[in-house]
């Protein structure tokens, strides 16, 4: 018996030219709903570009681009309930902005200020996770709390293809499976883990195959297809919420940008591959679909982009105007109450600041 004997269908609703292959899902059938989903993707795209520009001009630190992967985040956020919990990695802006995280908070975090993870309008979602795959474990614990309290909620945790090589990933899907926890593990398979391509990452024929090892369900979906994302995520979340069936959702996409603003993918990626992938990116097909099937005009598109640009610009102004942290605030949040030693260290530090400015 070989892994390649098992086949996972890749769910697709919109082909790369924007043609609808199957009836729309129930939750995404009106023009308003379709446009709303598009708006999330456009907002993500526009914001992402603006964020990169901020980094290039020295106004923000290292930033990981979401370009090309907007449909995945948009679909996840659209399908999640408000009281579900998101445990993201670091390319999830499209989901986060649907769940109350503000654009300026995202800028604030990458701009080097912890208050960026103190979401004012989202209490339970986890902050960005930088150590790879570790967040999968947290999602499992949240799932346990939900099950323990017998709540009708689910947890979505995201990660990249590289993360699925880590022990924490395997441990998490395993324990979610054996305990029957309401967790959906979404893998953004954008084919690159910094400079390591998928073929060097795993011998598994698909990432969805890894679900089999854990005894849980596996889904495979075209991550460039926002409609398919919504459908598959709804299915997976329903199974998780109602039946305590965890799952892996493998979303296929391509990382059009560099790994982060400090990376240069031209060092290791062939230009032709990048250009070919760009032709398949989610906004192209989605716009074509809206134009063909829902009376979406060029004016509508321009107007939407202008709105998103204005929102991004406004978020940037708010970001620029954030006051600096009070002096020595970095001492104050290590414990519920600062310890005597920390108080002393803070005073030492304040004294030095006064002396040397």
């Amino acid at each position: 018996m070989q892994a390649s004997d098992i086949h996972f269908e890749t769910t697709e609703f919109l082909d790369s030219s924007g043609k609808l292959l199957r009836p729309l899902p129930a939750m995404l059938s009106s023009r308003d709903q379709l446009v709303e989903l598009y708006r999330v993707m456009v907002q993500t795209r526009v914001f992402d570009r603006a964020a990169i520009n901020l980094q290039r001009t020295g106004e923000m630190g290292t930033y990981p681009s979401n370009e090309g992967q907007e449909a995945i985040g948009a679909g996840i956020g659209y399908a999640m309930q408000d009281d579900d919990v998101l445990v993201p990695y670091y390319r999830d802006i499209a989901t986060q902005i649907q769940r109350g995280v503000l654009l300026e908070e995202i800028l604030r975090y990458w701009g080097g200020d912890e208050w960026g993870m103190h979401f004012r309008h989202q209490a339970e979602d986890f902050p960005v996770s930088v150590p790879i795959a570790t967040q999968a474990c947290h999602a499992v614990g949240i799932g346990y709390a939900i099950r323990y309290r017998q709540q009708a909620r689910a947890v979505v945790t995201t990660c990249g293809d590289g993360a699925t090589s880590k022990g924490d990933f395997y441990e998490s899907i395993n324990i979610a499976g054996v305990m029957g926890l309401p967790v959906v593990f979404v893998v953004n398979n954008n084919r690159w883990a910094i400079s390591v391509p998928l073929e060097k990452q795993t011998a598994a024929p698909t990432i969805a195959h890894k679900a089999l090892a854990a005894g849980i369900d596996g889904y495979r979906v075209d991550g460039n297809d926002a409609v398919a994302m919504v459908q598959v995520m709804s299915d997976a979340l329903q199974q998780a919420r109602a039946h305590r069936r965890p799952s892996i959702v493998e979303a296929l996409s391509y990382r059009l940008g560099d790994h982060t603003t400090a990376d240069d993918a031209n060092r290791y990626r062939p230009r032709e591959e990048l250009e070919a992938a760009r032709a398949l990116e989610p906004l192209i097909r989605y716009k074509a679909y809206l134009q063909a099937g829902h009376d979406w005009s060029d004016d509508d598109d321009e107007s939407l982009y202008a709105d998103c640009v204005a929102e991004a610009r406004s978020a940037i102004e708010v970001y620029r105007a954030f006051p600096p942290q009070p002096a020595g605030e970095f001492f104050d949040y290590m414990y519920a109450r600062p310890t005597a030693d920390l108080e002393k260290q803070k005073q030492e530090w304040l004294t030095q600041v006064k002396r040397h400015g």
Binding site: V46, I52, D263, R267
Partner: protein, 371 residues
């Protein structure tokens, strides 16, 4: 979006202050049009636009100082348009790593072994400090040579009986310092010999003849009239002789200098010596008259003492000492005779002077004395 960075304005100036903006966001500009006037350390310079386009953003207000290479103006749209690709490999995947071509000016140095062997705990050191006891004077009674508090108290009692320590000042302090330095640096070797000065009429002061003989010695062996630098490992053999005369004065020992004495005849030497004695009595020697000697003479025999190994003071390399002359029984041509003998001691710094050179010098000195 294109970001125009402050270019190098010439002559390696690192930054510039914005004096006046000539454009604002939203303006359409053409290539070459003046964007801004900036002031460097040297001049006010008008910065031209590198391209035509729409101004998206200005980086900095008037009076701000901008570093060369930092953003100055953005063209296009800083939100909707993607920025240009990075110019070069940043060599990292997160953050911003500073890199320069500067040579790093450091290297590991050899370790110096600590010369201090005084062992005392901080509490004992503090006690010694309070009781005004120098730890170097305390004999330790603790295990492993550790000074205990009781040791400090004991020494304090002793010192109280004997009064306070007299700090060395002035000439005595200089002597202590100079001799310590000489001891640490010089590799001394001493030649002892006698001169038969029966031919010199008994005078009260043999110093002028000694000076004359020393000049003869220097002419025969100039390498004893030199300055040696042990650190740089080099020497200067001097043509001119600046004689350092060791003087025993009430306030201590010091070395007075007779500059440029190589050509003085006997009378000149006598005159200069007299002048020097006067100055010493009146304590009117200037600092210049205490410095710069190239060889030293010590007539300790004027008081007492036969042979000695006097101390060579760096940077000089030789000191000639003359002891007390006396009548002695010597053998001459197989006969026992009584002659007036002057004991001589020449100490030289063997780092810079060979035994042969020293011996030849001494021989010339003796030859002159016996002439």
């Amino acid at each position: 979006m294109n970001i125009f960075k402050l270019p190098d304005l010439g002559e390696g100036l690192p930054d510039a202050e914005i004096v006046e903006w000539h454009v604002k966001p939203g303006d359409e500009v053409s290539e070459g049009q003046t964007l801004v006037s900036v002031e460097t350390a040297k001049a006010i310079i008008d910065v031209p636009s590198p391209q035509s386009g729409r101004i998206a953003r200005l980086y900095g207000k008037e009076s701000d100082v901008i570093d060369v290479g930092r953003p100055l103006v953005a063209f296009g749209d800083d939100i909707a348009e993607p920025s240009e690709a990075k110019a070069k490999d940043s060599g990292t995947v997160v953050g911003e790593m500073e890199s320069t071509e500067d040579i790093i000016p450091e290297a590991a140095i050899g370790r110096h072994h600590s010369s201090s062997t005084i062992k005392a705990t901080p509490a004992v050191r503090a006690l010694a400090n309070r009781m005004d006891v120098e730890l170097s004077m305390v004999t330790p009674s603790g295990r492993d040579g550790v000074i205990l508090a009781d040791d400090v108290r004991r020494v304090a009692r002793i010192l109280a009986e004997h009064g306070p320590m007299e700090p060395l000042r002035g000439v005595r302090r200089a002597m202590a310092r100079n001799m310590a330095q000489a001891h640490a640096e010089v590799a001394p070797a001493t030649l002892l010999e006698d001169a038969d000065i029966t031919g010199i009429a008994a005078r009260s002061d043999i110093t002028p003849r000694l000076i004359r003989a020393l000049i003869a010695g220097c002419k025969a062996e100039p390498s004893l009239n030199a300055w040696y630098d042990g650190h740089a490992n080099g020497r200067r053999v001097l043509e001119r002789i600046h004689l350092g005369l060791a003087v025993d004065a009430p306030q201590g020992l010091f070395v007075a200098v007779l500059l440029d004495i190589q050509n003085d005849d006997d009378d000149a030497i006598v005159a200069r010596l007299a002048e020097l004695k006067g100055k010493i009595k009146q304590r009117s020697l200037t600092p210049a008259e205490l410095r710069g000697y190239s060889i030293t003479l010590s007539n300790y025999g004027a008081i007492a003492g036969r042979y000695a190994s006097p101390v060579v003071l760096p940077p000089t390399v030789a000191i000639l000492g003359a002891g007390k002359s006396r009548d002695e029984v010597v053998a001459r041509d197989g006969e026992i005779v009584i002659r007036h003998i002057l004991p001589l001691a020449l100490t030289f710094d063997h780092r810079a002077v060979t035994g042969g050179e020293a011996a030849r010098f001494l021989k010339a000195v003796i030859t002159d004395l016996e002439a």
